[in-house]
């Protein structure tokens, strides 16, 4: 059938793209001393050298283990292989082992780099349905899970998602979509003629099957830690609320705009003599440090508030597929909106999290022109928001080339023309004019701030348009399972 053919086409296209991007990433690794290596190495060391009971207590290095246990088991497995490459890298005390510059390129140095690159590449290549980017194989799991649902193999899809959740808990963002969809479209086997719910068709067997899958996977992952009574410690590592509202570099979400508004009001207030400068808290939000801080004018935001906002933003989408399920496509849209909503309103969101939203959108973009337009906007803002990470002069050609490529794409598809013009304007000012201007010294954070705001506006726009397309869409025929 046509969707599966298209899916197969796009999958081989995606694999090509994925391999290409993975290889590109290797250039970046050698260019820009990424701490990802050190994180990976540290986790290999922790899982290899220490007993299980100490995994979530270890904090010699700043990169503590903050992924769920299944990922830790996976690192443990990898460390067994690593041992034959270079046992030294598995000592927890050898911080920054791979990153120390050496006079002579010894065999062990090459071996460590080879192993780390090799494992990253291998993980990304192993999955058939791979998609973009930095945590490639996890996205592969997500895509595989979604594909299973599209093929109506819901138990397999649920199993994959349970695995995924236990590998990286950031996917909790999209768990509500799964929950509502599976409950509504899988556990209730039939709908009434007008698409509304038929309570009598509830299948307890299916619900139990789903429950069994999820609990068994979680037991496999968390089991040992619950047995040792370490669950609170693990959870505190997994959900570090001690970190601030925003990451050091603001992710382009609502809170970035909120921060800017707050700062502007503070500055205005001081200028107009409405506020006393001495009363304002001294810690700067833009100082680049990850601490807790307070807003000066607007009310401070606590984790509870972000949770409520996130739930509120997700609610219409979830309600929509509960009341009028539109089959797997509707699920995909809901998934996308959950991811995007959590990104917009979440606590301490990292800008890379936008990729979780881009992934399902890319599947939709292949089939629907309007979605393709929104996809381009999101990817443009997504990649542009990463530019401040590439701040050294040798990396400038990359930024220019990437920007040109994206512009060609969007020009060919004739969308977001105005957004592009604005982007060029901003880019040229930030990259060329600003470093040479006198404001460079006084306001060094300004480029980051402007980029965050610009991207945040793009993301908000995409979010609203996607919601509009979900709520206003004419229904698909609900697929009978």
């Amino acid at each position: 059938s046509r969707p599966t053919v298209m899916a197969a086409d796009s999958c081989s296209w995606f694999s090509a793209l994925a391999v290409g991007v993975s290889l590109l990433k290797c250039f970046f690794i050698s260019a820009y001393r990424s701490t990802d290596f050190e994180v990976h190495r540290n986790w290999l060391a922790i899982t290899h050298s220490l007993p299980v009971s100490r995994w979530y207590y270890e904090n010699t290095s700043e990169w503590t283990l903050d992924y769920p246990p299944l990922f830790a088991w996976f690192e443990f497995g990898l460390s067994q292989v690593a041992r034959s490459f270079d046992a030294n890298m598995l000592q927890v005390e050898n911080l920054n082992y791979a990153m120390c510059p050496r006079e002579t390129a010894g065999a062990s140095d090459t071996a460590v780099s080879c192993f780390l690159i090799g494992s990253v590449l291998l993980l990304q290549v192993l999955q058939v349905h791979i998609h973009f980017q930095y945590n490639g194989f996890l996205f592969g799991f997500l895509l595989l899970s979604v594909a299973k649902h599209l093929q109506s193999q819901h138990l397999q899809g649920a199993l994959l998602f349970a695995f995924l959740l236990n590998l990286k808990h950031i996917y909790l963002y999209v768990a509500p979509a799964y929950g509502v969809y599976l409950l509504r479209s899988y556990c209730f086997t039939q709908d009434n003629k007008d698409g509304s719910i038929r309570w009598s068709s509830f299948s307890l067997r299916r619900l139990l099957a789903l429950g069994a899958i999820v609990t068994s996977v979680c037991a496999l992952s968390f089991g040992p830690f619950i047995a040792m009574g370490q669950l609170p410690q693990v959870l505190s590592r997994l959900f570090p609320f001690k970190r601030g509202l925003c990451h050091a570099y603001w992710a382009p979400n609502i809170w970035a705009l909120y921060n800017v508004l707050d700062k502007t009001l503070a500055v205005l207030g001081v200028r107009l003599k409405l506020l006393d400068k001495a009363e304002l808290p001294l810690a700067s939000m833009t100082g680049g440090l990850v601490q807790e801080f307070e807003h000066s004018v607007l009310p401070s935001v606590t984790p509870a508030v972000t949770l409520v906002c996130t739930l509120l933003s997700i609610l219409p989408a979830a309600a929509s597929i509960w009341l009028r399920p539109r089959g797997a496509r509707g699920f995909l849209r809901c998934l996308l909106l959950c991811a995007l909503g959590s990104f917009m309103f979440g606590w301490h969101v990292h800008e890379k999290a936008i990729l979780i939203a881009i992934l399902p959108l890319s599947i939709l973009a292949v089939e629907n022109r309007e979605d393709a337009g929104i996809f381009l906007i999101l990817t443009t803002t997504g990649h542009y928001s990463l530019f401040p990470l590439l701040f050294t002069a040798p990396l400038l050609p990359f930024k220019v080339a990437l920007m040109l490529m994206f512009s060609i794409f969007s020009f060919t598809y004739q969308c977001s023309y105005y957004l592009d013009t604005l982007k060029y304007f901003t880019f040229s000012i930030l990259e060329v004019v600003f470093p040479l201007s006198p404001w460079q010294q006084r306001l060094p954070f300004l480029p980051l701030l402007v980029t965050s705001v610009y991207c945040a506006m793009g993301v908000c726009y995409a979010f609203l348009r996607l919601y509009a397309s979900l709520l206003l869409q004419r229904e698909d025929k609900p697929k009978l399972l």
């Binding site: 391999v19 040798p394 050609p397 080339a401 794409f409 020009f411």
Partner: protein, 505 residues
């Protein structure tokens, strides 16, 4: 998607790949007193900018020829002069006479890498784009795929943007020459090729095919009429181009002679270092260098080279079509590489360029050879600290060419263009040719991967310190020999009918 947008995106991707490689180390980084090719280029900028032209190729107090003396023809010198002029405006310390020896800094590296990228953008990349769009056949998607793989060829990227050289300029000019000849603009083509020759003397590897093709064409159109006219025009163009490039050196004969002496150093031996050619590989079994005298080595290599080159060139002379021209280019450069005097491993790039031209017609053989050529330069890459770019670009190239060009599907008898000869080779085994070829390819790639890993990770035993370079060069040699024989066979078998209709000009 429209062709122009696909082309732009592919070009941008290849630029990203090139720049990604350029972020790595270069030859001789941090290795006084001689450093490497990077320092040589910088030194030439210093010499050409600060000294008058008459002193560029001479050994004077200001110009010590033992420290990276100029040994390329004048066009390289002019190019260095232009770069030096730019360098002086940015930071005079980079080209200060004597004081800037061994100068290394991140800014300077950025500058040098940028000069390579600019030269590529102006000369090499446009030539590739135009060639693929106008002289390959197939759908536009196929053309763009060929172009993308052509631009991703790892060997050139790693040498130009890693090791540091300007091969893109000379190969680019040669490609412009090929392009012009393909479009029927013989005079412009010969001018472009003369420029290539004046940039690097190694382009002589390609000279015979150009000569035979043009001569054959003249003969075909009648040596007493239009053919003679063409011959005269080409001759005059070549002479004029040479005269223009050598103008400052023609004032005195001693000047010109010195330049010639610098660019053709015949005092050196049969080979230096480990190269994947016949002499070096033969040397592992019989120590040729000690058996024969210097002069007999020279004559032996001359004889062998001529013997290897002649069949292909004579064939081209009798059938001057573009198809034969491309094949003759590969065969001639491979013949020179395998049998010539004082060959450097980087000279394989001269054979790689024509092989890239064949990516559309003979994808599997072309990409196999191109991969082997990159592999043959691995010892050089390891010395320069370019292991990671080597792995990444090779993987990328292999993956994209196999995926985009469907190389492994084109293994059938007529696709390989072996014509009647395949019966000769394979009737004994009575097996499917495609099957054999595919498995040979897999085994060969596996061998290359294995040797690459071994060379990178293992340490050679003490009594065999050169074990891995020797193994790599012998393996590469076998591949090159096989390619040479294969392409000669293809050149001598009948091309398919549609080819001879389209390409005769």
């Amino acid at each position: 998607m429209q062709t122009w947008s696909l082309v732009s995106i592919c070009v941008l991707l290849s630029i990203i790949a090139r720049w990604g490689v350029s972020l790595n180390s270069y030859s001789g980084a941090g290795k006084p007193p001689m450093f490497g090719d990077y320092e040589a280029q910088r030194h030439w900028q210093e010499v050409t900018y600060n000294l008058p032209i008459q002193e560029w190729y001479f050994n004077t107090t200001n110009n010590d020829l033992n420290y990276w003396g100029l040994d390329y023809p004048p066009l390289t010198a002019y190019h260095s002069w232009i770069c030096a002029y730019l360098a002086k405006t940015i930071n005079p310390e980079w080209v200060e006479l004597h004081k800037s020896r061994g100068y290394e800094s991140t800014q300077h590296k950025l500058f040098m890498r940028t000069t390579v990228l600019v030269a590529d953008l102006l000369i090499y990349i446009p030539a590739v784009v135009l060639y693929c769009l106008y002289l390959t056949d197939g759908s536009s998607k196929k053309k763009v795929s060929v172009m993308f793989c052509f631009l991703l060829y790892p060997g050139l990227i790693l040498i130009d943007y890693g090791h540091f050289q300007y091969n893109g300029v000379s190969l680019g000019f040669a490609l412009w020459g090929i392009l012009a000849l393909g479009l029927g603009w013989d005079v412009l083509g010969s001018m472009a090729f003369s420029l290539a020759l004046n940039y690097k003397q190694m382009e002589l590897y390609h000279a015979l095919p150009f000569f035979c093709y043009l001569l054959g064409k003249c003969i075909k159109t009648g040596l007493m009429g239009r053919g003679l006219f063409l011959l005269v025009r080409v001759g005059v163009t070549v002479l004029a181009t040479f005269a223009l490039c050598w103008l400052p050196f023609l004032a005195e004969p001693s000047q010109a002679m010195q330049v010639v002496r610098r660019i053709f150093p015949v005092a050196r031996g049969l080979f230096e270092d480990k190269v994947a050619n016949t002499w070096c590989s033969l040397n592992t079994l019989i120590k040729i260098r000690s058996i024969l005298s210097g002069d007999s080595q020279l004559y032996l290599s001359l004889a062998c080279t001529l013997l290897a080159v002649l069949p292909s060139c004579i064939r081209l002379l009798t059938k001057p079509t573009f198809w034969h021209f491309k094949l003759a280019l590969v065969n001639s450069s491979l013949a020179f590489f395998l049998f010539s005097f004082q060959v450097h491993e980087k000279s394989i790039l001269l054979a790689a360029l024509p092989a890239c031209l064949l990516l559309n017609d003979l994808p599997l053989m072309a990409l196999w050879f191109l991969q082997a050529s990159t592999f043959s330069m691995l010892p050089l890459f390891l010395k320069d600290g370019l292991l990671v770019p080597y792995i990444v670009t090779s993987l990328g190239f292999l993956f994209f060419s196999i995926y985009l060009l469907s190389a492994l599907d084109h293994c059938s008898e007529d696709k390989l263009r072996l014509g009647a000869y395949n019966k000769l080779f394979y009737w004994v085994l009575k097996m499917d040719l495609a099957f054999i070829v595919r498995w040979k390819f897999y085994i060969s790639i596996a061998a290359m991967v294995g040797l690459s890993i071994a060379a990178a990770v293992l340490i050679a035993p003490l009594h065999l310190p050169d074990l891995f370079p020797v193994l790599i060069s012998t393996t590469a040699f076998l591949h090159f020999l096989g390619t040479f024989i294969h392409f000669n066979v293809v050149q001598f078998s009948e091309p398919p009918s549609r080819k001879s209709q389209k390409k005769s000009n």
